[in-house]
Symmetry: C2
Subunit: 426 residues, 2 copies
C-alpha cells in the first residue's frame, strides 16, 4: 500500500495548481513505481472563496498554521513567491523538521543562509530544482553530478521573458518598447515587467547557480546587474552584421579566489550553443576542469514544466526524508572573506558610436582606445548620415574599467557613444 | 577526519586513469565538501608490468579476487568494458553488498536484469551515469528529476564517433570511407569501427535510456539497428538542399502500451536543436507530458568528461551507501508481455532515386506511392545525367512497412532507389 507521505502547500495558484494536477494524475503510478502514497493534505490560499475550484475545497485553508503546525505533514511545498512571508514560513517548516520544496528564487537568493541554518538544525531537506531554469535539472546536476569536478564558468539564459523579447527584436527588427508591449498583451511579460527586464530575476538565479557551482555562498548583493530596457533595434542589427546574437546572460566565473558575477545584455557569436536558444526557452552552459563544456536547455517557466521539476523534488524528498541531499558548502550570510568579488572583469566589447564625418575623428577614437590599452579586433563603418558616420567596433579582451574610462573620454561633440555591449564566448 | 570509503577498480586504462587522477586532485576538496575520505585501495589490471605508471604500483593487482573479496572495499568501479567478464565481476561485487559504479553500456544493456537482481539481494547501489552520453547527466535526470513525469520520446546523438564522421561529411562533402579513415588516423574511430559505425554502441545506450524513460525494461534485442556505413556524400548533400541535416539517432517512443526503439541515420530539420550538435558532442532530447521539450548536451566520451561523471557517481554512492537510488521499474530479463514492440512505426522519409528520363516515369513513381497511401510532401528534380534524372522526395508521415513495399515495387530498370532515409522532428 506504499508509504503515505502528506504534503502541505503554501499557495495554490498557477504553479500550485499544476503540481496538484500532476500529483493527481501520477498518484497511482508513483505508488507503483516508488512505493509512495503522496497526499496533499492542506493548501494555504489567500481567500477560500476566490481559490481555484479544480482543487478540492476540503484541503483549502487561509491559516498558515494549518500547514506549518500539522505534525502529519512531512513535506511543505511553497508556491507563494516573493521574499516574505514565504521565507519566514519555509524557515518555520524547516525548524519543525519538515522538508521544504520550493521554486522561489527570490526567497532563496535573499534568505538561503537562514533557510539552510533552519534545515541543518533539524536535518530537514530543502529542495529547489525549479528555482533556476524551470524543469532544467541544473540544480541537481551541480549539486550531485558535478560534485567531484571543478566548475569555472556558468553562463545562462535564465529568464524566459527577456529571451522572448530579444528573440523577437532579433527576428523582426522591432524596438524594445513595442516588443515588450506585445509580450505583455500575450501574457509573456508581467504588467510590471521590472523584475524580468531589469535583470533582477536573473540575478537571483545567478546567486543560486554560482553558489552551487563555486561551492561558496555568492550573495545576491555581489552581482552586477543591467537589464535589457536600453537595448535598441540598432544594437541588435549592428551585432548581427558582425556575426553576433544578443542575449541577456547570467554569467558567473571563478578563477582561484576571484569570482565575477554579472547579469547584462551580451553578444554571443552566432555559432555559440546559447545563441541558438530562442523564444522563452532557458539554457545553462557550464564549463569545468573535467566535464568541459556542457549545456542543458528546456522550459524555464510555465505551470507544467515547473510542476514536473517540483514533483521530481517531492518524490526524491519523500524517498530520502531521513537522508536529504545537502549542498556541500557553508551557506553563510556574508561571502567568504578569503574571496574577492571583482567588478573589473575581462571582456570583449561591441561599441557602437556615431562620429562626426570630419577627418581625424576615427584617428582620435583609435588613439583614446590605444591609450587605454584597448585593442580593436574589427571595425565597421557604413556610409554617412546627416554628416555623421555610424561606426561599430569589437575590441579584443580588455578590462571593464579601461572600457569605462575610454567611453567617458570619447563621449563628446565629435563622437557620440550609442551603446557598449559586452561580448562573450569565443 | 571524514568517513573513509575504500574503492576498488576493475581495469585501469584510459578511463580508470582519468578517474584516479580526478580523485587524487579532488581528494582534499571532497573531504572538506562532503566529509568523504575516498581511497583507491586496489586496481585490477591485466598485467602489472604493462600497467600505467601514473598510478601507484602498490595498488595494482592481476587477481580480481583482490578487489571483489576485500571486505574493506565498499565501492567497486568497473572500467574493463565489454560484456564479460565485466558483468560477472560486477554481479559478484553486488552480491557481496558492494556498490558498483560503471560506464559499461554493453554489460548493462545485456546483463542489467542480472546486475539489478544481484543489487536487490543485498541492497547495494548500482550507478552508471557515464554509460550513456558520457558526462551528460541524463541517467540521473531520468531516474530522479523526471520521476514524476511521463516521458513519451527520447532522441539522442549518443555516439561521438559517428557524429564526428557525419559532421565532417556534411561540412566537407566528403565520402564515408575517406572520412572514417581520417577519423581513425586522428584516433577518433577505433581500428575496428564496427561497434560505433554500425550502431551497436548507440543501441546499447538506447536500451538503457528507453528503459529508464519508459519505466520498463527495453531489451537490447528489441532495438532496430542500422549504421552509417551505407551513407553517401550524395545523401547528405541531397538532404541539405532540402533543409535537413543527417544524424545517427537513437530514438525511443512510447504511446500507451506500444514502444518503438530504433537506431538509424535520420534527417532532422536544420532548425532542430539536435541538428546543431556537431563533431564528437553528444546530446539527448526528451519530451514528456509536463516537462515538454528538454535537451542535454556535452562530451559523450574522453577520459576527463567520463571521469567527471563517474566520480559524481562515486561521491553520491559513498554518501548513500545504505540508501541507494534504485531505478523504479521491474528489470526483468524479458520485456513486459503486456507491451508491444513495433517494427511498423510511423515516419517521414527522404527517398533519393534516379529515374530514366522517359515520359511517364515520374507518374509511375507517384502512382506506386499513392497505391501504398504514401503522400508526398515535396519533390525535387535536378537536371538529367546520362539519360537519368536524379529525383528526391520527402513523404508525409507513413508507415515503415508501406515504405518498404513501395521501394520494392519501384526498384527496377526505370527507377533506381538510391537511398531511403527516415526523417524526424517536426
Amino acid at each position: 500500500m506504499g508509504k503515505q507521505v502528506n504534503l502541505g502547500f503554501l499557495g495554490c495558484g498557477n504553479i500550485g495548481g499544476g503540481v496538484w494536477h500532476l500529483l493527481d494524475e501520477m498518484h497511482d503510478e508513483i505508488l507503483r513505481r516508488d512505493g509512495l502514497d503522496l497526499r496533499v493534505k492542506r493548501a494555504l490560499v489567500k481567500s477560500i472563496p476566490e481559490a481555484r475550484t479544480d482543487v478540492p475545497a476540503a484541503i483549502l485553508t487561509e491559516r498558515a498554521e494549518d500547514v506549518l503546525d500539522d505534525p502529519e505533514i512531512a513535506i511543505v511545498c511553497e508556491f507563494m513567491g516573493g521574499e516574505q512571508p514565504a521565507a519566514r514560513f519555509m524557515q518555520a517548516a524547516l525548524e519543525k523538521g519538515k522538508t521544504v520544496v520550493t521554486a522561489n528564487k527570490m526567497a532563496l537568493a535573499l534568505q538561503w543562509h537562514a533557510l539552510r541554518a533552519a534545515a541543518e538544525k533539524t536535518g530537514a531537506g530543502l529542495y529547489h530544482e525549479a528555482s533556476v531554469g524551470g524543469v532544467i535539472p541544473v540544480i541537481r546536476t551541480l549539486a550531485i553530478s558535478l560534485e567531484a569536478d571543478r566548475i569555472h564558468r556558468v553562463m545562462g539564459i535564465v529568464n524566459g521573458t527577456t529571451n522572448y523579447i530579444l528573440t523577437r527584436m532579433t527576428q523582426e527588427g522591432s524596438g524594445y518598447a513595442e516588443t515588450l508591449a506585445d509580450a505583455q498583451r500575450l501574457g509573456l511579460a508581467e504588467p510590471d515587467p521590472t523584475a524580468d527586464v531589469e535583470g533582477y530575476d536573473a540575478a537571483y538565479k545567478l546567486s543560486i547557480l554560482s553558489s552551487l557551482a563555486f561551492h561558496t555562498h555568492v550573495p545576491y548583493a555581489k552581482i552586477y546587474r543591467e537589464g535589457i530596457s536600453a537595448v535598441t533595434a540598432e544594437d541588435i542589427a549592428c551585432g548581427r552584421d558582425m556575426g553576433y546574437v544578443l542575449k541577456l546572460l547570467a554569467i558567473g566565473k571563478r578563477d582561484g579566489d576571484e569570482i565575477e558575477v554579472r547579469v547584462h545584455p551580451t553578444f554571443l557569436p552566432e555559432t555559440h550553443p546559447l545563441a541558438k536558444v530562442d523564444g522563452s526557452l532557458n539554457a545553462i552552459h557550464l564549463h569545468g576542469d573535467y566535464c568541459q563544456d556542457m549545456m542543458l536547455q528546456g522550459r524555464g517557466a510555465g505551470d507544467k514544466p515547473t510542476a514536473s521539476a517540483i514533483c521530481g523534488d517531492i518524490v526524491f524528498a519523500a524517498l530520502h526524508l531521513d537522508n536529504p541531499t545537502v549542498p556541500s558548502f557553508p551557506n553563510t550570510a556574508e561571502a567568504d572573506p578569503s574571496l574577492t568579488f571583482t567588478d573589473d572583469w575581462q571582456s570583449r566589447y561591441l561599441v557602437r558610436m556615431s562620429a562626426q564625418d570630419t577627418p581625424g575623428v576615427l584617428a582620435k577614437v583609435a588613439a583614446v582606445l590605444a591609450e587605454e590599452k584597448i585593442s580593436i579586433a574589427s571595425v565597421q563603418q557604413k556610409g554617412v548620415r546627416d554628416g555623421r558616420a555610424p561606426v561599430a567596433l569589437i575590441t579584443h579582451e580588455t578590462s571593464e574599467r579601461a572600457m569605462r574610462r575610454a567611453v567617458e573620454r570619447l563621449q563628446g561633440d565629435h563622437v557620440r557613444v550609442e551603446s557598449v555591449i559586452r561580448v562573450e564566448g569565443m
